[in-house]
Structures are given as structure tokens and as C-alpha cells.
């Protein structure tokens, strides 16, 4: 009956209820009593309207938010890839700086791996973006520099651990971090 009175009963179920109510005085009385009770409560519960201050605050917020998207879309779409590159470069450079302050080589390697994987995971479709002069090359150069500084450069100058006979250390363990930053930068 509650569901029916709330408009939530339709079709055969609603028809079945009405049929039952026609034959059952007790249920009819119960339904009427519930209706009177709800009406009594609705008529006597505290009622009111939001204050002018609250309404004005909502109005201002609504207007501010309605205008906000226009400002966002007004930003030149062509500059977004450049901004994304700049943000990415800042992120990688910041991460590299943090790495340089760390001591444990294993931790540094792991963090470097994380940074590089972040680089690789960036979704960027070149066909959809305008060209940004030199941005790709700058990014690759920075990545090479990071690798070189960390002794992970993929060339003959890389300073890798030579696996020892007892093979206690994993083959990728960095033996030396003696490559000065300045020297590393001259290689890229």
C-alpha cells in the first residue's frame, strides 16, 4: 500500500491491490489511517524556506561555475601539447633531482625505472598535436642524460658491472656512479 500510494505500483500489481482493497475493509481502514497520519505530520512538521543569505550564496556559486568552463575552453587548444611537454619535463627533471640526492643505488635504479616507465606511459598521439619544435628531441635527450648519469646508458661508454664468477650480485647491479654530471652531459 505504501508503494502504491507513492506511485510505485503499476499494472497488474496495482490492479490486484485495488481489487483486494475493495473486498477488505480492514486494509481500507489501515490505508486511510496511514494517509491521515502522513497528512497530520506533513501539516505540522517545521516548514520554511532557505534564508536569503544561503540562496544568494548558491546563486553566486552557480554563476561562477557557469562562467568557468568558458574560460577553460577559451585557452588555446594548440598550446596544450606544449604545456603537457613542459609539465612532463618538469616532472622528469624534478624526479632526476630527487634521485641525485638519494644514496642507495638500488633505490635510485628503481626510482629511475619508475620515471622512465612514466615517460613511456604518456599517451601522446603525434598525429593529433601540432608540432612543438625540438620538444621530442629535448625529451629524448633528457632521458639519455638521466640514463648516462645513472650509468645505464645503452652504449659502449656505459659503466656496467661485469658479472663476477660467484654471481652474488645480479648482473644489472651498478658498480660505479663515478661518472660526473658534467662529463655525462657532454655525451648527449
Amino acid at each position: 500500500m505504501l508503494l502504491a500510494d507513492a506511485g510505485g505500483l503499476t499494472g497488474r500489481a496495482a490492479a490486484a491491490l485495488e481489487k483486494h482493497l475493495q473486498a477488505c475493509g480492514a486494509c481500507r481502514d489501515h490505508r486511510a489511517a496511514l494517509g491521515r497520519l502522513a497528512a497530520l505530520a506533513a501539516a505540522n512538521l517545521p516548514a520554511g524556506e532557505p534564508g536569503a543569505g544561503a540562496r544568494e550564496a548558491v546563486r553566486r556559486a552557480a554563476r561562477a561555475a557557469a562562467n568557468a568552463p568558458a574560460r577553460v575552453t577559451a585557452f588555446p587548444r594548440a598550446l596544450r601539447p606544449a604545456l603537457a611537454y613542459a609539465a612532463l619535463l618538469a616532472l622528469v627533471a624534478g624526479g632526476w633531482f630527487m634521485l641525485a640526492r638519494e644514496r642507495a643505488p638500488a633505490d635510485r635504479t628503481a626510482q629511475l625505472g619508475t620515471l622512465l616507465s612514466m615517460l613511456e606511459s604518456v599517451e601522446y598521439r603525434e598525429a593529433e598535436a601540432p608540432s612543438v619544435d625540438g620538444a621530442d628531441e629535448q625529451l629524448r635527450a633528457l632521458a639519455r642524460r638521466l640514463l648516462a648519469v645513472e650509468g645505464l646508458a645503452d652504449d659502449e661508454t656505459a659503466d656496467w658491472e661485469t658479472p663476477t664468477a660467484d654471481a652474488e650480485l645480479p648482473p644489472t647491479t651498478i658498480r660505479s656512479r663515478s661518472i660526473p654530471v658534467a662529463a655525462a652531459e657532454t655525451r648527449v
Binding site: 507513492a6 510505485g8 502522513a38 497530520l40 512538521l45
Partner: protein, 186 residues
């Protein structure tokens, strides 16, 4: 124009569209909030916070009962505030809450006896509703104040329709006992 059409206008930058919805739903929404809080001041805060959240989340709203969504947000705000409140403060609605002192005193209008009786009835109804368990009070107010269908009430509470119906049934049964003296018909 449907609520979704008005919302679409707002998303396109028509600020007046949201004000139409605020105006349309201010009474049922505020009626629910007022009976779930402790007076006009707190109700105003919850009311505006509800709309602030609506504005922030307007992009995530798809289809359905918009008033139900409003009440659901308001309910969450009320619960959050109750959790933050100090334990010694009652979470129930005070019968006199939100009413200026002079309004609680007998007036000078004709038939003061009738007015006193009506006020006493109002106080007892409010007190009876306030004493309901929280979940039952929510269902009762969503149905009576906001006139939400049980489907929307169930969604707002995160329960099945059967559970919402059962809570309403319990609420009505308790109110019936409490208010039998007020009206022998109930």
C-alpha cells in the same frame, strides 16, 4: 522542460538554469533538511552546501530523479556533520529549533486556544518524528517532506526498496502510537 533539459542549459553556461532548479526544489529539499538538522541556521548551511556539491558534481549527474539526488547529497552532508559533532550535542531535532522566541509564546490573535492547540500538535509531531531512529526518520521525511518515490528513497539510502518500505512501515507504526492522542483517527 524536464530537469535534464534545464541541466543541459546550465552545462552550456546558462547560469539562470540552475536557479530555476533551486527555486523549483527549495521547499521539498529545505523541508527535509530543516527536519534533519537543528534549526534554520544549520539548515541554511546544509542547503547551500548541498547546492555547492551539486554544482561541483553537475557533470557526473546523468538521468533519474533530480530531487532524489539532491536529497541524497543533503543526507550525506547531515550525516557528515553529525559525525563531526561533539557527542554531548543531541542529533535530534529540537521542537523549538529555528523558531524565534516570540513565536513560541502565545499570540494576541483571535482564538488563542485554538492556536495553542495547533502549536502543541506541531510540537508533538515534530518531537515524535525527531525520536524516530535515523534511518526511519530519513525515509519518513523523504516521503512526506520531499515526496520522493520509494525507488529514489532506496537509492538515497543505498538500500533495497523493500528495506525502505519496511523502514517507512516501522516509522508509521511508531508515529501512530505516539500521535494517537492527537488524532484518534490515526
Amino acid at each position: 522542460m524536464t530537469d535534464n533539459e534545464v541541466l543541459a542549459r546550465y552545462r552550456r553556461g546558462d547560469a539562470d538554469a540552475l536557479e530555476e532548479l533551486v527555486e523549483k526544489y527549495k521547499r521539498p529539499l529545505f523541508g527535509f533538511i530543516l527536519n534533519m538538522t537543528e534549526g534554520q541556521g544549520e539548515a541554511d548551511e546544509v542547503f547551500q552546501e548541498t547546492w555547492f556539491r551539486v554544482i561541483r558534481a553537475i557533470g557526473s549527474y546523468r538521468q533519474g530523479n533530480f530531487l532524489g539526488w539532491l536529497v541524497r547529497i543533503a543526507r550525506n552532508i547531515v550525516i557528515d556533520r553529525a559525525r563531526r559533532r561533539k557527542p554531548e550535542v543531541s542529533l535530534d531535532v529540537a521542537p523549538e529549533a529555528g523558531r524565534p522566541l516570540e513565536e513560541t509564546l502565545p499570540g494576541k490573535e483571535p482564538d488563542p486556544l485554538g492556536r495553542l492547540k495547533a502549536e502543541e500538535t506541531g510540537r508533538r509531531v515534530a518531537a515524535a518524528v525527531a525520536e524516530l531512529p535515523l534511518e526511519q526518520k530519513e525515509v519518513f521525511l523523504m516521503r512526506v517532506e520531499a515526496e520522493l518515490p520509494f525507488k529514489a528513497i532506496a537509492a538515497a539510502q543505498g538500500v533495497s526498496i523493500n528495506t525502505a518500505l519496511a523502514r517507512m512501515q516501522y516509522a508509521l507504526a511508531k508515529l501512530r502510537v505516539r500521535l494517537r492522542d492527537e488524532n484518534e483517527d490515526v
